[in-house]
Structures are given as C-alpha cells and as structure tokens.
Symmetry: C2
Subunit: 439 residues, 2 copies
C-alpha cells in the first residue's frame, strides 16, 4: 500500500525514483518487538535526495522528521511504525555515498538466499534476544539482524550456528564470499558479502560475543525455552532491596543526574566511559569497586530493537529521563594513614624532592625495597565523600558532563531505597542477579 502510494505521488510530483521494502519484514525474518517496516526511496547517483524526502512527507501527512546521515520520515500506518528513507541507488555496495545506500544491497543478498531458512533466522534472533545479545546499537553491542541472517545462510540452520559458535575464539573470522579486503581488529569478523572492506560484526563486543558462545554450548547440552523467553524481571520491592543490600554487606553508591536531549547511540558510549572514569577515581584512591553498572531511565519499557538500523533512529520520550550510575564498593572506608611510595634512593634528585614534598609525615621517611616511603594523612577516608567532592571535576563526556554539573544526587547504602522508580528497581533486580545463560 505504501509503495504504490509512493509511486503515485512520485509520478504526480515528477520525481524519478524507485521504492523498495527492505529489512527483516521484506525477508520474512521480522521478529515481534523489532522495529516495524523500512521503505526506502532510491534515486540515481548525482541527483538530489530532497525530492524523494518531499514524496516521503506527502505519503504520511502525520509524520515526524528524523535525522541520521540524512533526513528521513517516521510515521504510523495502520498500527505499524514505518521509516521512509531516501537513498541513492548505487552500482556497487562497496562504493556507497551514505550508510543507508548499502541497505538495498543487503536486502538483495539476503532475499536471494534466505528462502526456506526464515524460521531458522527467527529462532536465532529470538535466542539472541532472550540471552541479551541481540541488537547492534551501542547500548547493546550485540548481533545485528543482518549478522544473524548471514550466520544462518552460512550454516543452514539455527543449531548449526550454535554448534559453530561453541568453538569460537577471539578474532574469529568468517568470509562468506572469500573476498575480504581489510584486516579488522574485532572480536568477531564477518566480512560483508556486499562490501569486502566492512566487518558486519564491528559493533559486537567481546562480552556479548562470548555470552552467545557460552549460551550456545549450554543450550546444545540442555535445551530449554528459557533461552528464548527468560522469566520477566520484576521491580525489587523495598523489602527485597533491603535484603539484597544486607545480604551482600558491600557499600552501594548511586549517582543520579538528568539525562541529556540526545539519542541512545550518543549517550551510551559516554555513559560507559563516565562509569569507567568514576571507577578509576575510586580505585586510584583505594576504594575498590566490586562491580558497577549504569543506565538511562526514561520511564519507557526498554526493548531490544533491530540492531541493523536502530543506530540511526533517535527515540522520542517524554523528557530526557535520568542517568543512573551504580557503584558497589568492597572497600568504602580506609584508615587515615596512607602509604606514599617514592622514588628509589639512588635517584638522588627525585629522592630529595620526594622528601621535601612530605615535610611532616605521620611515619617515615623510611627505605623499603630500595625506595623512600612515607605515611601521610589521607585526604578522603570515605569513598562516597571522595565521589561527592571530585565527581564534578571528572571528564564525563560532552553531553553527560554538563548535565551532571547542573546538579546531581548521591545515595549511599540504604538511602537507595528512596528511589522508587520501577525502571530503576528492575535495573537493580538485574544487577543483583547478574545471571546470564552462560552456566
């Protein structure tokens, strides 16, 4: 219906173009919960994308305009979410002008080979979704839908893919067309059949890859529905939360501040780096971090989306939500006395400077393993206090930094009970269990 409407409107406007249904829906591998339909409007190289965008706008008068490398249209048609995306029709998949121009090539490659294997792809995608490794967006760092399709095309079945994955090692390389033209330094390399220089698995992280590997082995040994449909995770009640905290007897510290007005693919890399910066600050000062996690809570049900294209769709949410970073300390309080290990005595100039810079130590100076050592009064004896005083000075990313400096809250231990947001309570339930289908 949409495609014939595009043809009509293009004819009326005098736009020379071709419209194509692409993505999983076009290939019979659409998984419920994935984003819905992708319709591309292709124009020839050298012409402008603007007339095609104008056609897209007319197809769906009630639409929202979004931007990735180029503008496109997002709309609803009879309950379906549809992206209408202008692109160039290029001759060769390796000589594209914009990332979206590659999509018709992927569509063609998969469509010609997937006949009869659609259910295998659906099984694999749902398995990946169930174990939490589905989606190539930066938030997940998992397998894209296209990658899942290529793996099935290569092995011929869902179980075949699991068997192959069981013996994967880091740096595993797969090249369906035997035409690789570049060396990649990624945990998994799957050379794009339509572009010899591209790794289809470039977004896959080591940990998602090996979660899949471990889960594959486990499933082959003892199959079960829970791999595809894990039991739902409910928000922790106050009592459950209180119990978890006193069960672990660690010190939990929650850092909370407003989310920025940005898309997930911009926010999540910053969030991971910010989490690492805070961990480094704490660890450097002796407050050892047992584990940490971070998320962006926007009052929306978080769902795995189709990885192949999710990167280019900004989400619309009411407000920009809350950034939450959780740090679990195994050491939260340190003694006042702190060792400072200086240079070896035989580096005379450094040794002299070191002694001068610690004029009134609590103990020392003394020589240990050939080095000068002093013991001085520690500046921060409590991890949460260090965080409170120093987090504003960390570089937390282009968008997260300013948001944090506008204001943040820190909750320590049982104070975390004050945060009732069900999305956060689900996050906590997942954090405490931390169980993956890997053993």
């Amino acid at each position: 219906m949409i495609i014939s409407r595009i043809a009509e409107l293009a004819a009326a406007e005098g736009v020379v173009c071709e419209s194509i249904l692409v993505g999983s829906a076009a290939r019979g591998t659409w998984l419920s919960g994935d984003h819905d339909l992708d319709v591309f409007i292709g124009v020839s190289e050298g012409s402008s994308l603007l007339p095609a965008l104008e056609v897209a706008r007319l197809v769906a008068p009630e639409h929202e305009e979004r931007y990735a490398e180029h503008a496109y249209v997002h709309a609803r048609f009879e309950g379906f979410e549809v992206d209408i995306v202008p692109c160039y029709l290029v001759e060769d998949g390796s000589r594209i002008l914009s990332a979206v121009d590659r999509t018709p090539f992927h569509n063609r490659y998969v469509s010609r080979r997937i006949g009869g294997l659609e259910d295998e792809v659906l099984l694999l995608k749902q398995f990946m979704k169930g174990i939490g490794v589905y989606g190539s967006e930066l938030k997940v760092g998992g397998f894209s839908g296209y990658l899942a399709e290529l793996l099935v095309i290569r092995r011929g079945s869902f179980l075949g893919v699991l068997e192959e994955a069981s013996s994967w090692r880091p740096g595993e390389a797969i090249d369906l067309e035997g035409h690789s033209s570049r060396v990649h330094d990624d945990p998994l390399v799957v050379v794009d059949p339509v572009d010899p220089g591209r790794n289809v698995a470039a977004a896959l992280t080591l940990d998602r890859m090996f979660t899949f590997v471990a889960a594959s082995r486990l499933f082959l040994e003892e199959p079960g529905m829970e791999f595809f449909f894990p039991p739902p995770v409910f928000p922790l009640t106050d009592d459950e939360l209180r119990e978890a905290i006193s069960d672990r007897k660690s010190t939990l510290v929650l850092l909370e501040f407003a989310g920025p007005d940005q898309v997930e693919d911009v926010v999540f890399p910053q969030l991971r780096k910010a989490e690492q910066s805070v961990c480094a600050l704490l660890d450097r000062s002796g407050f050892s971090v047992l584990r940490s996690d971070a998320d962006w809570h926007r009052g929306a049900r978080s769902e795995v989306r189709d990885g192949e294209t999710a990167g280019r769709r900004p989400e619309t949410f009411g407000g920009c939500g809350v950034i939450r970073m959780l740090f679990e300390l195994s050491v939260a309080v340190l003694p006042r006395v702190e060792r400072r290990v200086g240079p070896p005595v035989w580096e005379a100039e450094h040794a002299k400077k070191f002694v001068k810079s610690h004029p009134e130590p609590l103990s020392g100076p003394y020589v240990e393993d050939g080095r000068l050592v002093v013991e001085v009064a520690r500046k921060f004896v409590e991890g949460p206090e260090l965080l409170r005083k120093r987090v504003g000075g960390l570089s937390l990313g282009r968008h997260l930094g300013p948001e944090l400096r506008r204001g943040y809250k820190i909750y320590v231990g049982q104070e975390i009970l004050e945060v009732g947001d069900p999305e956060f309570r689900v996050f906590l339930a997942r954090y405490f269990s931390a169980r993956q289908m890997v053993g």
Copy 2:
C-alpha cells in the same frame, strides 16, 4: 694477660699452638657496645682442635661453652666479655677449613693498613650504628666491622666513605685488590682482600645499604650529632599508644607466641619469612596490609653487636622470650560478597568446571572481559578472624611453627594496650615513628 696464660697452659699441656688477639680490639677500632675481646688459638692444619679447646677451658675455669662451626669458650675477665676460639692456621685465606680460620687473615690485612685511620673507622661505625645499619648478623643485615674498616682503608676517611656511598647504585662493586674471582648477585659487592671468591658485604640487604646511602647524603648536606647518637626511644605509655592507634585509624593486629630455644641467626630469618607468609595470607584474601614488623622480645636491652663475628655467638637469656608480629591492616573488614574470576569462555572445559564448582552463586555467572565471573559468599569477612583460623596452617619455619602451634594470642586494635612489656612498647614507638635518617 690472657695470651700469656694460654702460652703457659699450652706449654704445660704439651699443646703446640699460637694465640692471637683479633677483631676490632686488636686493631684499635673497638667501639663501646660492640662485643669485647676475641682471642684465637691457632693450631696447624691436620692436627686436632680439641687440645686447643681444652687449653681454652683451662684459661677460664668459669666459662660457658658455645658452638658455631666448632666449639669455643665464652668467659668474663675483669669485666670484659671474651671469646676464646680454636682455629686452624692455614697458609692461604681462600683455602680455609672453617669460617673462623679466615679471621687471622682479616686481622693481618687490616692491622697493616689501618694505622692512623682508627678514628675514621670509629666515626663510620658509630654513624652506621646511629642510623641502624651496623651489624652483619641476620637480625640487622647491615655492615660488619670488617666491611667498615675496608671502606675506610679504601677512601682514607669517614667523609670519603660517605661521599662515595652517596652515588652508590644497586650492584655496586668494590675490589681493593683487583682480584675478584666470582660474580655475586648482591646489592653491594666488596671482594674480600684475603679471599677473591668471597663478598664481604654478602649479608647487607638492599634496604640497609640504601638507608646508609640516603643518610650519607643527608649528613654531607647538613651534619649533626643525631646521626651518631639518635635520641633514645622510650616505651609508649598507654595514652600515647591509644592516641597513635586512633590517629592512624587503621586496624592493628598483634600475634604473640613463645620464642624458641635458638640463636638469633636461626630465629630471625624464620621470623621474616613467617611475617611474609602471614602478610601473603591476609593480602590474598583482600585484607590489605599497610605495613608489618616482627621482633623477638627477651627482656634484654637490644644492642647492636659487632657484625663480623656476632653470627657465631648464641646469646643466653633468661628463658626464650616472646615472638611478636605486628600487622597493620588498611582493610580489616570486607563485604560478604566476593568476586571469583574464572577462565575465559573459549577454554570450554575449564569454563564448564568453573561453573560446576560454584553451583549457587550470590550473583552470576556472567561474562566480563571474556571470562566467566561469579560472586559468592566470602568465607572470612574479618582479617583477624582469618588469621585466628588459618595461622596454624601456615608454614612458619622449622622452629617458629611448632612454638606457635603450642599456643598463641591475637590482640586486635585497642586490645594491644593489654601488652605492657616495655620492650614491646619501645618496638611500637619505633614502629609508629618509622623515621630513618634518610630525609
């Protein structure tokens, strides 16, 4: 007087021997507080040492017999402590039968060269004593008297030695006779002028060496009497001890058990190793040790003795005293939850075993940096409790192990106030200050 008495008795008994005064007293480099006189009774190679020992016994009817490589006699003559030691008169200092046979060679080498330099030697020895690096016995691991004499002979003065030492580096080599016949892997190598294969500084530890180096530099920059005669250290009062503990806010743990009936040179190496074993036990379990120290308290005033020969003299004390080991923890309590990092997922067999061996973790298993991780309940959440339960199972040395297993006490934090032994309170005063003349 002693030497002529030996000559008389030997003649009467028909023993062919030669008696010699050796050591610092013989060379005019005797330092008050060093052990007193060494008289050697030399017999020719191939004969027996027993007749010479018999002569020694007769010289001092009130004596005590002691043993090193061979038996010798310890006695008091008019307020002097005297060792009368049988030895062989060999031709060549490098072809000795027992360590004591080398002493007459040392005596001869130094006596011929030390004329006019005696005060320089006394200054150097007192300087070394003042900064705590004098004595080659294993308890100290410092400079022997003979080594101090050689350094002065080489540089010609006390200040010359300090200037030379100021630029020492680890592995420094000194060879007065240019006849070294072996490579040594020691922090300082001083080839014995009477034995080209021997390092006179073999007992010197890296830390004693560089305490001397740092103190030398400091003295040359700003000389002072306190290098030679540091202020006396008084036993900590209860109030001072209480204050030190609360000033540092660390957790002090004292382990106490009976001392063995052995000499210092047997006990101290075991004591250092035992201290390291306990530190390793604590550190392995996450209870990080800030600093530790150990000593053997026998109700005697601890004094620096002449390093050259102290190793061969057992001490006599009333009873065998108390072994005390002090551990200062910067982390004394840990959370119940503990991370266990397993093998990489791609090591399939190990991964499977790891999961099987942690059937009901508190959290996980999950994949982190490609490895399986679980979080389990920690066995010991308090360092002192771990020590109490596990110290008996450590290998603490041939003599210390059995003593500890016969019974020990552990004091934690303010409980340490219960131990009033002034020797221990001096030990604590030194521990808390830890100040060396190094900066």
